[in-house]
């Protein structure tokens, strides 16, 4: 279009008497242009209607009885082809996975390099790592207490006595024999947690503003923590006033994971295995403050200072106890 206007602009300037001959020639040229431009313009205005029409024909062409450019037969064939194609592909996929799974042991994963050294978790765990309640308002701490009871149900002395055996403390409980043989688990009685067992004080100290928090170490098949020396737990204020955390009691023992609970043999053979726990009784924590606390495992082979993983061998949580 721009071309046409420029041509006609030029024409206008040209019209001088002396140039009649020339103009005649030029007009012819322009006529050609005009004739050419008109269908072009037509095409431009038609496009949308055209497109809609084409689309309609494409969706369903009654003459050739085609839908999306294919007849029923063609569609049938192509769908059949893809059905067979993808079935074969799925078959190949399943076969490859099957062969791969055949090579795996059902009891021990092939590699354990990504899961060790162990991570750490705490209970009660509701929806974060901040434990905040007001002593005077039971509804603020009741969920924590319920969570603790729920979690410790599996550690009831009766249940433990029924399912598990007593082991020799201070040494790994190594069970030889066939891999597929069922392994025995050591008793970890709730009563071992003493003040934090919830037996004497069903509120786990929450009603007194002295909350109990349970710490457990992640299970890793075949892992022997501490290399002969039990792994112990300690807690301190993380980045803050050290005096806010004045005393913590650890149960059982001095906050150690006894060796007899290790190694773990996997959930298929070590069915009744209950992870050993360490209860931390925060008997004197600054009230009305957010106190960030880091509890770490200490022992040989334990890593607790990795920047990228804040749950590896340690755990950071916040205590906020109100009156």
């Amino acid at each position: 279009m721009a071309r046409n206007t420029s041509t006609s602009g030029m024409e206008g300037q040209l019209r001088s008497p002396s140039q009649k001959v020339e103009n005649k020639h030029e007009e012819k040229v322009q006529d050609l242009d005009r004739e050419k431009d008109e269908p072009k313009a037509d095409m431009g205005s038609k496009t949308w209607a055209d497109l809609a029409g084409e689309m309609k024909i494409f969706l369903w062409n009654p003459e050739e009885r085609t839908c999306l450019g294919r007849t029923a037969k063609s569609w049938g064939l192509i769908l059949l082809f893809y059905f067979i194609f993808y079935t074969c592909l799925a078959g190949m996929f399943a076969f490859c996975l099957y062969v791969m799974l055949l090579t795996l042991s059902p009891y021990t994963p092939r590699f354990r390099d990504r899961v060790s050294p162990p991570g750490v978790m705490i209970r009660p765990y509701l929806n974060g790592f901040t434990i905040a309640f007001n002593v005077s308002q039971p509804n603020t701490w009741q969920p924590y207490v319920d969570s603790m009871h729920h979690f410790l149900a599996a550690y009831d002395d009766k249940v433990q006595e029924e399912k598990n055996i007593e082991c020799v403390p201070g040494q790994y409980f190594i069970q030889g024999g066939d891999e597929s043989e069922e392994k025995k688990a050591c008793q970890f009685k709730r009563s071992l947690l003493q003040n934090c067992s919830g037996i004497e004080d069903p509120t786990f100290g929450y009603s007194k503003g002295q909350p109990c928090i349970l710490l457990k170490m992640n299970r890793i098949i075949g892992y022997r923590p501490g290399a002969g020396v039990p792994v112990s737990v300690d807690c301190r204020v993380q980045k803050g006033n050290e005096s806010h955390l004045r005393s913590v009691d650890f149960y059982p023992g001095n906050g150690t994971f006894d060796l007899m609970y290790y190694p773990y043999y996997g959930k298929f053979t070590h069915v009744n295995y209950t992870s050993p726990l360490v209860a931390m009784h925060f008997t004197d924590v600054q009230k009305d403050y957010l106190v960030p606390i880091q509890c770490s495992l200490n022992g040989k082979g334990i890593i607790n200072d990795l920047n990228s993983d804040r749950f590896l061998g340690r755990i950071i949580f916040t205590l906020s106890i109100g009156k």
Partner: protein
């Protein structure tokens, strides 16, 4: 040039864009104002001014001549024809470009003087209008840009449909809306072929570089491909197809026509020079000639020397210099005593010389001119050195020869001589050219010489390559064999073989129709067997109107006829005739012709050199200018410049352009395949809620890291041997990315690749303790920061970071799997096996006639010979090794940089996807086998791209 355009002031308005304005800042014009002659700068002229020009002047504006004296102008800047044209006050033609009484701005007055009235100045002059015509012609999208756009639409369509589909799925799966939107965006982004732009640019640049080596300067990168899809080449004649230099082409003496060598670098002339008539003729040619070599060119080849003199005399001078050696010394030995120079009234040139034979005291009168005028003055004719009376039979022979030479579009000159009797003209005789005190009739006719601006020697071959070279060989090679080798032919099977016309070459020239037709015939634009309507009429002896136009394959269209044609008529001509010559065309008409060709759906290339070509060059899909002969305007308007003016380079260009298209197709198939392998994991992640199989950064590393070099390497792919035998790509039908290609890449190979990668992914997780069944539906807990005792299939507990690290290992494994499977692509497109298959095929053909025995070559040797002939693309190997190398570096070198999400991978995981790579290859071979076995079948239609 630029400087001049900037300084051109008002004269140059509107033409800055083109950067040409052929007037010098300091140009002065002699103007008659206020009854006195003034010297004014040319840009101060106004319409109505009376200007005076003389030989050597540039015409300062378009002027109508009111007084002339022997005025000749060189219109080459306008028409491209450098032959000086005489100007007079007579109105001879209603076309201003043809009439004698108008001289145009920017052309040069070669000789004589003239006075004229200014009728147009500045932009309104013819040349100014050509300039604005050229600048007014919009740049249209190149075919490759259209194809890429089509591809982008396709990818965008796929991306958005999948995105929306999965948005709906994720919403109905109760994902949060925000998450669903993130998925939507993620899917769309994953579909973007990030590396494609780089690859396309690199491919185009590489080709441009390759072409620069062959003296094709590509100004517009995308134009490279355009040349490949070109279906019509509109070529200018003078300077493009021809040498733009008058050369002696034929001689006639002793009743016989001899042809002379017209190639660019003639050193000898092969015709029979033993006849005494030739000796006489050569003497006339040498002596009756005022042209001289400029001094100081002794070391240059004769053909390249600069000559002072007009085109015909130059041609004769060079011709005689080549045959006789030192012309100047011959002239010195035959001292000139009198001369009548050529003028347009008597149409001959005459000179009288002493002879070089000291015994012979006679004077030699030599004369040349328009043959009929010369013959009028002759009473005898020289046959084999003897003078014989010129009877009607001999005159008839002369007429036949004259007509024949004239019919070939050549300019014919007659030559005659006379030895003046010694008695009447003693040595001391004073010749007076005004009173003509010597005889100028009853001379002895010696011969004719005809001259033409001959075609460049490379042109006929190039034209035939463009037009038809491939047809025969294409017919010989079975189509399925082509497919086998390429798998990527741009032609669809149904159209192959039905329509084999290749690139059409049309001549568009400002020259005379007869000359144009002769040149067209000699370069093969009009083939030897084809006829125009006029030829048929002549042969059948019927009026032109009665001839069935469809029978005539060739057409010569005059500019005057073109002027009266409607665009429908022009379309009809372009449709009905395959061999067309347009003669006497104006710049505007060139434009119209190009537009007409484009209306036929053709991709049009225009070659030209003059200012007059520049609008057409600009309008064409690809404009090709001549580098040496070309004017700056033409070069500016063109997309490509042939630096050595070699028309044959166009053929190279066509080949390169087609190659680029093929290679881009390969690149895109390569890119699309991998795109699906990047997209699939994301879709599965949404649907099955498994841990993310591949991360965004990893995808970027595939697209911009490992895959760039291989896809660029595809640009180095050599051309298939049939590349020039194919029909030009049909703009509308043969797309860069068609449905089959997309479906094949997306739904078949892409999916296979993804499945292969998923096997690796599941293997990694299973071997670390997460069996596939555990992984399904874990997404929310898996990604939760708070859950640090996430239990695996074996009862082990994982912290969040440990899981993430495992996830990155999964990314790396997925990445490695794709990287391992991608090179299979090279096998797929048959790069490695192409040669072997070729050899097997040849061996198969040869089984019947045992050529090994005939040739004395053992089969293994033959095998190797065949292999080395098609040298393999070494860059492909670079591509493969770089791909694996980069993957190794990323995995093991950068595996500890957590931000990149790569982890060092166990060695065995590199090979998990190999069975799938093999599966892909086998599948593709089966696909190709079935296509070959069952051409035209359902399989062929759906699986061939």
């Amino acid at each position: 040039m630029e400087k001049r355009a900037q300084g051109g002031g008002s004269q140059c308005r509107g033409s800055h864009k083109l950067n040409f304005c052929p007037i010098s800042l300091l140009q002065q014009a002699v103007v008659l104002r206020d009854a006195e002659k003034k010297e004014l700068p040319a840009d101060q002229l106004v319409v109505g001014d009376i200007v005076e020009i003389k030989g050597g002047d540039r015409i300062p504006a378009d002027i109508r001549l009111i007084f002339t004296q022997g005025c000749k102008v060189d219109n080459s800047s306008l028409t491209g024809e450098s032959e000086p044209q005489s100007r007079s006050c007579d109105f001879t033609h209603e076309n201003p470009l043809e009439t004698r009484n108008i001289a145009f701005y920017s052309t040069t007055c070669v000789e004589g003087t003239a006075t004229g009235i200014v009728i147009n100045t500045g932009d309104r002059t013819i040349i100014g209008r050509i300039a604005s015509l050229a600048s007014g012609v919009g740049n249209e999208k190149t075919p490759i840009a259209i194809e890429i756009e089509h591809f982008v639409y396709l990818v965008a369509g796929v991306a958005i449909s999948i995105g929306v589909l999965f948005f709906i799925i994720s919403v109905s799966m109760r994902y949060k809306i925000l998450d669903s939107i993130i998925f939507l965006i993620g899917i769309i982004v994953a579909n973007v072929p990030e590396g494609l732009l780089a690859t396309v640019t690199v491919s185009l640049s590489l080709t441009a570089k390759r072409m620069a080596k062959k003296n094709c300067l590509v100004k517009n990168l995308e134009a490279v491909e355009t040349l490949g899809s070109t279906s019509i080449i509109c070529s200018d004649k003078t300077g493009t197809l021809t040498q733009n230099r008058m050369t002696v082409a034929h001689l006639w003496f002793d009743n016989q026509i001899y042809s002379a060598d017209t190639s660019e670098d003639q050193t000898t002339q092969p015709f029979d020079q033993s006849s005494p008539s030739w000796t006489a003729l050569s003497k006339i040619v040498t002596l009756c000639n005022r042209a001289e070599f400029r001094p100081g060119q002794e070391n240059l080849p004769i053909m390249k020397r600069v000559v002072a003199g007009d085109a015909s005399e130059t041609a004769l001078l060079k011709f005689s210099e080549v045959i006789l050696g030192d012309v100047m010394s011959i002239r010195a030995q035959n001292k000139k005593v009198a001369e009548i120079p050529f003028n347009s009234t008597n149409k001959f040139q005459l000179s009288i010389h002493e002879t070089d034979d000291p015994q012979d005291k006679r004077f030699l009168l030599v004369m040349k001119g328009a043959p009929e005028r010369i013959l009028e003055r002759c009473s005898t004719i020289m046959i084999n050195g003897k003078e014989e009376p010129l009877d009607s039979e001999k005159a008839e022979a002369f007429q036949t020869a004259y007509m024949e030479l004239g019919g070939m579009g050549e300019r014919v000159l007659g030559f005659c001589h006379l030895y003046l009797p010694e008695k009447e003209f003693p040595e001391t005789f004073q010749f007076d050219t005004d009173s003509m005190n010597f005889p100028s009739s009853n001379l002895c006719f010696v011969g004719l010489l005809s001259m033409i601006d001959p075609p460049r020697s490379t042109v006929p071959d190039a034209v035939s390559k463009c037009r038809s070279a491939g047809i025969k060989s294409a017919a010989l090679i079975p189509k399925r064999f082509l497919l086998l080798k390429t798998g990527h032919c741009s032609l669809s099977p149904s159209t192959f073989g039905t329509h084999l016309s290749l690139v059409q070459v049309i001549m568009v020239t400002g020259d005379h129709p007869i000359t144009a037709k002769a040149i067209a015939k000699s370069v093969g634009i009009i083939s030897a067997t084809s006829e125009t309507v006029e030829d048929i009429a002549k042969r059948l002896n019927i009026p032109v109107e009665q001839v069935n136009r469809r029978e005539a394959t060739a057409a010569v269209v005059n500019g005057m006829e073109l002027k009266d044609m409607s665009s429908e008529q022009l379309d009809a001509i372009l449709r009905e005739h395959s061999e067309i010559v347009f003669a006497r065309t104006s710049p505007q008409q060139k434009l119209i012709i190009v537009e007409g060709c484009q209306r036929q759906g053709a991709v049009v290339a225009v070659t030209g050199d003059g200012v007059n070509d520049s609008p057409a060059l600009k309008k064409a899909d690809i404009g090709i200018a001549m580098g040496i002969a070309g004017s700056d305007a033409a070069k500016n308007a063109a997309d490509m410049v042939l630096l050595d003016d070699n028309f044959a380079s166009i053929v190279t260009g066509v080949e390169e352009g087609r190659l680029i298209f093929d290679n881009l197709k390969k690149t895109i198939a390569y890119t699309l395949t991998k795109n699906i392998a990047e997209l699939c994991p994301f879709l599965i992640y949404i649907i099955a809620s498994i841990p993310m199989p591949i991360g965004t950064i990893t995808i970027l590393f595939i697209d911009l890291g490992t895959d760039i070099i291989p896809s660029v390497a595809l640009a180095y792919e050599k051309a298939e041997s049939d590349i020039m035998n194919r029909r030009p790509r049909n703009k509308r039908r043969d797309r860069l990315v068609n449905q089959q290609l997309a479906v094949y890449s997306y739904l078949q190979i892409g999916i296979m690749q993804s499945v292969g990668a998923f096997v690796t992914y599941f293997t990694i997780y299973a071997e670390q303790g997460f069996l596939p069944s555990t992984l399904l539906g874990v997404r929310v807990n898996w990604e939760s920061n708070a859950i640090n005792d996430f239990e695996d299939s074996y009862g082990q507990q994982w912290t969040h970071y440990q899981r993430m690290y495992l996830q990155w290992t999964g990314y790396t494994a997925f990445f490695v799997s794709i990287t391992i499977q991608q090179p299979i692509f090279y096998f797929r497109i048959g790069i490695f096996f192409k040669d072997i298959v070729l050899v097997i095929l040849k061996m198969h053909q040869l089984k019947t006639n045992f050529p090994f025995i005939k040739m004395g070559v053992s089969p293994p040797d033959y095998f190797l010979n065949c292999l080395s002939k098609d040298s393999k693309n070494k860059v492909i190997w670079v591509g493969i090794f770089s791909q694996i190398g980069i993957a190794l570096i990323l995995t093991y070198g950068l595996g500890h940089v957590t931000a990149l999400n790569f982890t060092p991978l166990r060695f065995q995981y590199w090979f998990v996807a190999v069975p799938f790579a093999i599966l892909i290859w086998v599948y593709d071979e089966i696909r190709k086998l079935l296509i070959r076995r069952h051409p035209g079948s359902w399989w062929d239609k759906n699986m061939y791209y």
